[in-house]
């Protein structure tokens, strides 16, 4: 018995197949979920993948957040379903208020694609237990609207509660406040980040590192207790 992890495809999702591959490489079973279908098909966890859902029209993630599938994701996330939002998925999670804050356009106003150094700061969430605290990893980053912002109170709260999961190291690629690359909710079941762990799961492909694989092995271990 292995874990079934759903990957939602919104119109304009781009990294859905890549995320399914990463889940498979970690040893779990990927399940394709469709944005118009409210049914999560008994998956044990959900990933909202990267891309430009609805062309990022209006605001990144703002339309997808109202997809039928999101009604169920929001409801079940509040009840403890593990959910990971990558890049556009992170944007959807903030729009859905499952995570605080929001994303603005990169401060340099360009799309940026690079192999980004991060520090892991939370190893207790559903998606990060396979990292060690303070571990520095390289994960590809690629986005137009990646500048994480929130009010001071929220930022202080995130810091105080240990909910800043990942921070940019050496170089802040988009002007994110306090170098924040990813955060978790209070319960630790919902995680969102801008960089793309699914692009760092094979030694030959992409960045040539496998620093992203622990996201998927972490959740697998949590779900099957391996």
């Amino acid at each position: 018995m292995t874990a079934r992890i759903g990957v939602v495809t919104f119109p304009g999702s781009l990294d859905d197949r890549d995320t399914q591959r990463a889940i498979r490489l970690a040893g779990a079973e990927p399940v394709a979920l469709w944005h118009k279908d409210k049914d999560l098909h008994q998956v044990d966890a959900v990933v909202l993948p990267g891309g430009f859902s609805y062309g990022d029209y209006l605001r990144a993630g703002a339309i997808s957040r109202f997809s039928p599938v999101m009604e169920t994701v929001i409801e079940q996330a509040k009840a403890g379903l593990p959910v990971l939002g990558i890049c556009n998925g992170f944007q959807v999670l903030t729009e859905a208020h499952l995570l605080p804050g929001g994303m603005l356009g990169n401060d340099h106003l360009h799309f940026i694609c690079r192999d980004q150094k991060l520090r892991v700061e939370n190893t207790s969430s559903a998606w990060t237990t396979d990292y060690s605290a303070g571990q520095e990893i390289h994960i590809p980053l690629k986005n137009m609207d990646g500048r994480y912002v929130a009010d001071e109170y929220t930022l202080d709260k995130l810091e105080a509660e240990g909910r800043v999961a990942f921070r940019y190291v050496d170089f802040n690629p988009n002007g994110s406040l306090r170098d924040i690359a990813g955060i978790t909710n209070e319960a630790g079941n919902v995680v969102g980040l801008m960089p793309h762990p699914e692009h760092a799961v094979e030694p030959l492909i992409g960045s040539g590192r496998t620093d992203g694989l622990p996201f998927f092995t972490s959740i697998l271990k949590k779900l099957v207790g391996a």
């Binding site: 119109p11 304009g12 781009l14 990294d15 197949r17 890549d18 591959r21 990463a22 118009k36 990267g50 891309g51 430009f52 609805y54 062309g55 990022d56 029209y57 360009h110 799309f111 940026i112 694609c113 690079r114 590809p140 690629k142 137009m144 793309h196 699914e198 692009h199 799961v201 094979e202 030959l204 492909i205 992409g206 960045s207």
Partner: protein, 752 residues
């Protein structure tokens, strides 16, 4: 074109003396007369619209056709070629049941007028060509040419073009894995924005643009049709720019990558369920092109009800609907029984789809508007029987003088210090500098199959996760070489792209090209064009790599000044297992550096002559295709058998440029010794073709040398990967930090 009274076929026949605006639509007098002769009456306004766009230079290749035939006539026997020239894109067999389609196209003129949308829709167009063959697009590449890097207008054009390519390609989820960026004052008013794409499919999934089977339904799907891009092909892409004429901005289309992404997924799903008989994308000439090509490539007959075309602007006239180049539209031919399912898939993806016509058993293309017939033509006369010109061509009078102005006689650095300064100047010059600021605006990770991307010698994509089968693509084209000798210049473009594919370990299979030239009405330009094609066709024949398709872009000139002749050549290669690929970066200290090939005093058209002397003259490097083939075989064998850990082709900038790039990418320096028989200057800066530098692990040295010796490839051991500087023994030493500062800061400082 007035809308009242409706200019029907009947009306046209009854009113032979009505004057039509054929000249405004870009037709010449004799071309218009030919239309009248074909129809046996004057054309209707709608027919005129169709003929004018389809007979434009851009769509009909009327000036280039007589020369392009050589690609077919001289095509080498190749088992790999599944679909050749003439379809939306060529298709190549890469083994294991996979077929790969690839093509390069130009979007030069629109990108100058409106850089962001011009470049964006260039990506959109080439990607639709790939989908129309039945393939899933897997990567894009963008060969670009701009005016001088420090010219103020370059700062307008380049950032817009780069943002447009990124904005569109990133949103489609296609990794951008290659291409080039070159600056030269000759492209100031005529930047070249070429866009290439690769798609992958199984052999049995190849689709062609043809409408056969009477009763089959013609479905238009994708975006609504608007008033954008009217005359894009005929007015914009087929004339030179001229200050006196009004702005051509309205002729540039506007792209919506989100719509295109839906179009890709929806089309591929329809293919998977085998719902499609024939398919064509709507690009240049829009519906005029799609309907006439589908009909003429099939059984010939088709009726279309233009009223059924979904519009963005309800006031469009039928002529405008036929000419509109609104983006993100496709046309599919579907059997009646499968129409419902096809429409269902479109609905799933929120793509608008409408049956607009039917294939008939006749041989006429008939188009109706408000129940009246406004087009009644033999579609072949629109799509295939356009005018063909034997344009006069003549070797320009200045060619001899240009070639006599020998770059080998330019003053060379007299001291080691001067040599060092020139190296630093070269690697920091706009053309030789790192293009990271540009390429970091493109997603090269998406789809999770990118093995190599720029600044590697070629981009490489894995196409089978189980076996590791992959394809590589490189694009090259040196306009300076081609200006000095267009025949050799085209062959050098092919040589370089072929070599770049081989340095990464892939076997070159096939060629696509984008031929960018000035006005065909200038005999000197026409000579450059004819010579370049002759050169490329001859070289493809000798190397056994057929041309599978491509694109011609003429009229790249402002007033009397034409761009350098710029044939951009794309070579596609295959690699059995991407795990065997060879990167550019130095991997390990202590590995031995070998220079493969012969180095001669060849500085004509070189980067050194441009950067140090602002000079263009003499002859380009000597072409030796047999040597290129041998070098490629050695590089591929060495990759496969693990004899080399890094490899880099030598081209513009010579050996020093290649070594500096490998060192900076790997973060490891090199100590070099000038080999016997060469002076330091020639060793570092010569641009002799047929060369590469490779890093060989010490354990492989004997085996590698034996292989090169046995097969007769000259090799020289030139140094070792070591330290944190590039040192030329007895000459100078430059730290990696100094080199990095010079090489990586230039573009951002000029353009950000």
């Amino acid at each position: 074109m007035s809308r009242t009274p409706l200019d029907t076929v009947e009306h046209a026949a009854a009113t032979p003396d009505v004057e039509l605006p054929w000249a405004e639509l870009g037709l010449k007098k004799d071309e218009y007369e030919r239309v009248v002769e074909i129809l046996g009456r004057r054309p209707t306004g709608a027919e005129l619209a169709m003929y004018s766009v389809m007979w434009s230079e851009h769509c009909s290749y009327k000036s280039s056709k007589v020369h392009l035939r050589q690609f077919g006539e001289k095509a080498p026997q190749s088992d790999a070629l599944l679909v050749g020239i003439g379809e939306n894109a060529g298709v190549v067999d890469v083994g294991q049941g996979y077929a790969v389609t690839f093509k390069v196209e130009s979007h030069n003129h629109p990108s100058y007028v409106e850089p962001y949308q011009g470049a964006a829709t260039g990506v959109g167009g080439i990607v639709r060509d790939i989908i129309a063959m039945g393939a899933r697009p897997v990567a894009v590449v963008d060969p670009l040419r701009f005016g001088a890097a420090d010219h103020p207008d370059t700062k307008r054009v380049l950032p817009g073009v780069v943002a447009g390519i990124g904005g569109y390609g990133n949103c489609l989820g296609l990794p951008n894995i290659g291409g080039e960026v070159v600056f030269d004052a000759c492209y100031q008013g005529n930047p070249l924005v070429n866009a290439g794409a690769i798609g992958v499919m199984r052999h049995e999934d190849i689709h062609l643009a043809k409408a056969s089977g009477a009763g089959n339904q013609v479905i238009l799907y994708g975006a609504r049709t608007g008033g954008d891009g009217i005359g894009g092909a005929s007015i914009l892409a087929s004339e030179t720019f001229d200050d006196a004429k009004p702005s051509k901005r309205p002729a540039v289309q506007v792209g919506d990558p989100f719509q295109e992404k839906l179009l890709i997924e929806c089309t591929l799903e329809a293919f998977r369920e085998k719902l499609v008989v024939g398919i064509q994308d709507l690009g240049a000439a829009g519906l005029s092109c799609a309907t006439s090509e589908l009909a003429s490539n099939g059984s010939g007959g088709m009726t279309v009800t233009l009223d059924d075309v979904p519009l963005r602007d309800s006031t469009l006239s039928p002529e405008e609907i036929l000419m509109s180049e609104s983006q993100e539209r496709m046309c599919a031919v579907v059997e009646p029984a499968k129409v419902a399912r096809f429409l269902e898939i479109c609905e799933k993806w929120d793509v608008i789809a409408t049956v607009i016509g039917e294939v008939t058993d006749g041989d006429r293309l008939e188009i109706f508007w408000h129940g009246e017939k406004i087009v009644d033509v033999d579609p072949r006369t629109v799509a295939h029987d356009g005018p063909v010109y034997e344009r006069p061509y003549a070797r320009p009078s200045w060619q001899d003088e240009l070639q006599a102005d020998d770059a080998n006689k330019l003053p060379r650095p007299a001291t080691a210090e001067e040599l060092k300064d020139q190296v630093l100047k070269l690697v920091g010059s706009p053309n030789q500098a790192s293009k990271k600021w540009i390429t970091s605006q493109y997603d090269h990770f998406v789809q999770g199959n990118t093995v190599l991307a720029q600044p590697e010698d070629s981009g490489m994509i894995r196409i089978d996760e189980e076996t590791g089968l992959g394809v590589a693509i490189a694009t090259d084209g040196n306009g300076r070489y081609a200006k000095l000798d267009p025949y050799a210049g085209a062959q050098l473009a092919l040589s370089e792209a072929y070599r770049n594919v081989a340095t990464t370990g892939a076997k070159p299979l096939a060629v696509s090209d984008c031929l960018n030239f000035g006005s065909p009405e200038d005999p000197a330009v026409m000579w450059q064009f004819a010579e370049a094609i002759r050169g490329l066709a001859d070289a493809c024949q000798q190397l056994g790599t057929p041309v599978t398709g491509g694109n011609v872009s003429l009229y790249n000139q402002t007033g009397e000044a034409a761009i350098h002749p710029t044939p951009v050549v794309a070579v596609l290669g295959v690699i059995d297992d991407v795990a065997r690929r060879t990167p550019v970066a130095f991997q390990e200290e202590g590995q031995l550096l070998y220079l493969l090939g012969d180095t001669r005093e060849e500085f004509g058209g070189s980067a050194w002559s441009q950067v140090v002397h602002d000079h263009l003259g003499g002859l380009p490097p000597k072409v030796d295709l047999e040597r290129e083939r041998l070098l490629a075989e050695i590089l591929i064998s060495a990759s496969r058998d693990g004899m080399i850990d890094s490899a880099h082709d030598l081209s513009d900038g010579g050996l020093v440029q290649a070594v500096v790039e490998s060192a900076l990418l790997g973060g490891k320096g090199a100590r070099l010794v000038v080999p016997d028989g060469l002076d330091a200057f020639t060793f570092l800066f010569s641009e002799s073709a047929g060369r590469a530098v490779v890093a060989v692990p010490r354990s492989e040295e004997v085996r590698f040398n034996d292989m090169c010796g046995a097969r007769g490839l000259p090799v020289a051991r030139i140094g070792v990967v070591d330290g944190d500087s590039v040192e030329i023994q007895g000459e100078f030493e430059l730290s990696l930090a100094e080199l990095r500062e010079a090489h990586e800061g230039t573009i951002e400082a000029l353009l950000a």
